[in-house]
Amino acid sequence: MPRLSANRSSQPAWLLPFVIIVVCLLSGLPLARLLYAGLRFSLEGKATGLFSEPSTWFAIRNTLATATGGMVISLLLGATFAFVVTLTDIRAKGFFSFAFVLPMMIPPQVTALAWVQMSGPASPLLKTLGIAPPLGSPQPLYSLGGIALLLGVQHAPLVFLALKAGLAALPRDGVEAARLAGASPMRVFRDVIFPLAVPGLIAGAAIAFVSGVGNFGIPAILGIPASIFVLPTLIYSRLSSFGAGTFAEMSQLSMVIAVIAGLGLVIQQRALRGRDYRIIGLSGQSAAFSLGWRRWVSEAGFSLVLFFVLVAPLAALLASSLVPAYGVPLNVQTVSFHAYSEILFRQSVTLTAFANSLFLAGTTACGLLLFTVLTAYLLARRPGKLANIITGLIEIPYALPGIVLAVAFILLFAAPLPFVNVSIYGTIWIILISYFSSFFAVSLKPVASAFLQLDPSLEEAACLSGAGFGRRMRDILVPLIAPAAGASVILVFLIASSELTVSALLWSAGTQTLGVAIFNLDDSGSSDLASALSVLVVIMVVILMLLLELLAKHLPRGVLPWRN
């Protein structure tokens, strides 16, 4: 008699324990360590000095002010773009969407650097145009307002995407019914569209706020020179001036960040309560209002905004990478590729950074895929409470501000590993593990939605054909989810290769990443080298995004963050 296994739908017995162990190691362990440290230090009263220092309170105030200001700017920009692009007959929608979302994919420290190069008295762009303010006048962006403005620009795409997803589901027939009932387009917008769009607006605002709280690149470039500290940069400066109470302070400060971010999400939950409008009817093609002559105005306005948030900063970045020295105007005589040859061929620091970032991003993207495919398969085949807990655990490290995650990993690996007595603190491996934790959710999403879209009978047919688990994976499942797996690899690579926040806390000599190298070069006054490196990063980002665009038609909906 054949042996009967108690195994449901012939999944291998090791799959569930394997996924649980991986998720616990990558997510559960660092989170638990951080929570434990925060609570222990609080109870022992080790970091009490922290909250009697005015600088802590200044940082908290600055964090709240810049995150709130940034959220308001994001809302204004993102909502306007989303409403016009989804609801009207404006042309070049695809182009506007792509261009508007691009700032989100550009690393924040590069955005900040580009804006500094665009607006200061030493701006090569303004000098070339002859409209630069006199030397010695203050850089207007080195202020709370500047930080808030840039946070707003950086996170406006988040509002745009949250709102666009909601508006795309808006039923065309609902709008048409309102028109037939006699409502003018403005009236329809006020009475039908806007109320239905409110949940998307609230969700977008919350994401923008939380991202603003956790952002490190922008306040680091704009705030540190003017001694304006927010919580993430305060943690960074505490780690730089390493002292006896550093771990206690850092874990306390990260708890404060986590609490502020958490409060933002709680407010979102409260605001969303009772606003769960299930859309009934045909949603598909969304309503298109004819703008008439205002179409030209909108298109011109959009182009102008895009010029200021995208074209001008990037042009300034390019210009300052091409000038031979700080403060020299750019023209045919002065143009020089010195900075590029320096970072690509001479500076060992940037070369190491390239090697490190490519290694980290490549290993994270490909290595995570292995876990991701197995986890996504399990989540699709075994839905339920356990699956929700696993998904939640995977998403927390990504939702958490990077600086908080970095502190968690410092606490976890500061002491040598038990049993083997090797310390990975200060090596590239601690960055790699943090990346695995941080980007698990990014890697999982495309693959998980591909598995959910897959007709389960395709696998069942293979089962009955006699194929075991490994065979089914290789012959049936992996070929069918391959486009999503490709998107997952490129997305993780895209985000990880220019990542700054996590590596800023975890790097040490020889393990600096591209993000850290840009930041350090700018910090040490080599803005031309920093700009050149940033230009290369932007080019890489755009190429990877275009690569994903090519894959787009083979991907499940919602996989690419800039398309829905």
Binding site: L4, A6, S10, S457, A461, A462, C463, L464, S465, G466
Partner: protein, 340 residues
């Protein structure tokens, strides 16, 4: 090959109501069993338990002497030597027709000329040889169906399972596919289990019909048997055309009720009532009969379908060779009824 035995099979998904409860039946070797029932009656769950995609919470499934599944464990589907035609056909879009059909062989380690020959053979049975190198996306619904069938054919399986395979086809194609299934069954000699909610399909193809309702097996019998002698209201209402009348009949009479007894029941209203199934072909116009009111008359091509109402307000169906006006009273005789 051996007979397939379901022994007190039950499945509870924990929703409060068991999806399948206490189903026992035996499919004889080489039999063609249709599992018939309305949607949600548990027939697909039974099929999936036979395939091994679900594990029974109670009872067991045996194939001859082998236990395939019971409450303590289940043989995984890949070890059961079964094949299935899915409602969605489940063709792998990244493989050609030949690769789809030949996959079970490939898994069993058959390659090269033997593989080629057997795939070609299977495709010739469903008349799709010239489509071997197309992708499933380039085929029509009926062609995809036949590819799925060829995939079942290629490795002589012990049991072939069919999950509403004709549900997505138009009427014309259905008739042709029914013929293909019958031929397939005759040729392969495999035991076949066919899930459907269409009693016409079940009657046309199966050697046995099992009617299920709300997770329970109501009756299992051959098509003529189940048509002539259905058990209970559910089976009577589900199998074949007909109307169920509530008539005052003497207790313990014969199940097959002749016209005189029926006529008497119509004349006397009092007494305990019993459900009686009346097939439309047994309701014929006859001047000696009772008067029934024609409530509708629908032309069906070969005949007219009549809806009739008795004086007591009960409804009947009948056929007529010519049209009748709505609202007229006509005499009809009910040749026989079946006490459910």
């Amino acid at each position: 090959m051996a007979q397939l035995i379901l022994n007190h099979l039950s499945k509870d998904f924990g929703t409060g109501r068991p999806a399948v409860s206490d189903v026992s039946l035996t499919v004889r070797e080489g039999g063609f069993l249709a599992l018939l029932g309305p949607s949600g009656c548990g027939k697909t769950t039974v099929l999936r338990m036979i395939a091994g995609f679900e594990q029974p919470t109670d009872g067991s499934i045996m194939l001859g002497e082998r236990t395939l599944a019971d409450a303590s464990g289940a043989l995984p589907p890949e070890k059961r030597n079964m094949a299935m035609v899915f409602q969605s056909y489940a063709l792998w879009p990244h493989m050609t027709v030949a690769e789809n059909v030949g996959y079970p062989l490939k898994v069993r380690g058959i390659t090269g000329a033997a593989w080629q020959a057997r795939v070609k053979d299977a495709l010739s049975v469903v008349q799709l040889e010239e489509f071997a190198y197309r992708r499933p996306a380039d085929l029509s619904g009926g062609q995809r169906q036949r590819v799925a069938l060829a995939r079942c054919l290629v490795t002589s399986p012990d049991v072939v399972l069919l999950d509403e395979p004709l549900a997505n086809l138009d009427r014309h194609l259905k008739a042709a596919m029914e013929e293909t299934f019958r031929a397939f069954h005759a040729r392969s000699g495999a035991t076949m289990i066919y899930v459907t909610h269409d009693q016409g399909e079940a009657m046309a193809m199966a050697t046995d019909i099992a009617v299920m309702s709300e997770g329970r097996l109501m009756q299992i019998a051959s098509p003529p048997e189940i048509y002539a002698r259905p058990e209970g209201r559910v089976v009577g209402g589900l199998v074949g055309q007909g109307a169920i009348l509530d008539l005052a009949l003497p207790d313990h009479g014969p199940r097959l009720v002749p016209w005189p007894v029926l006529e008497m029941a119509f004349r006397q209203a009092a007494g305990p009532s019993h459900p009686v199934l009346v097939r439309p072909e047994h309701v014929v116009a006859d001047p000696t009969g009772i008067l029934l009111k024609v409530t509708s008359c629908v032309f069906e091509g070969e005949r007219f379908a009549l809806s009739l109402r008795t004086a007591g307000g009960q409804h009947l169906k009948a056929y007529s060779t010519h049209a009748l006006d709505c609202g007229v009273l006509r005499p009809f005789v009910i040749r026989q009824g079946w006490l459910l």
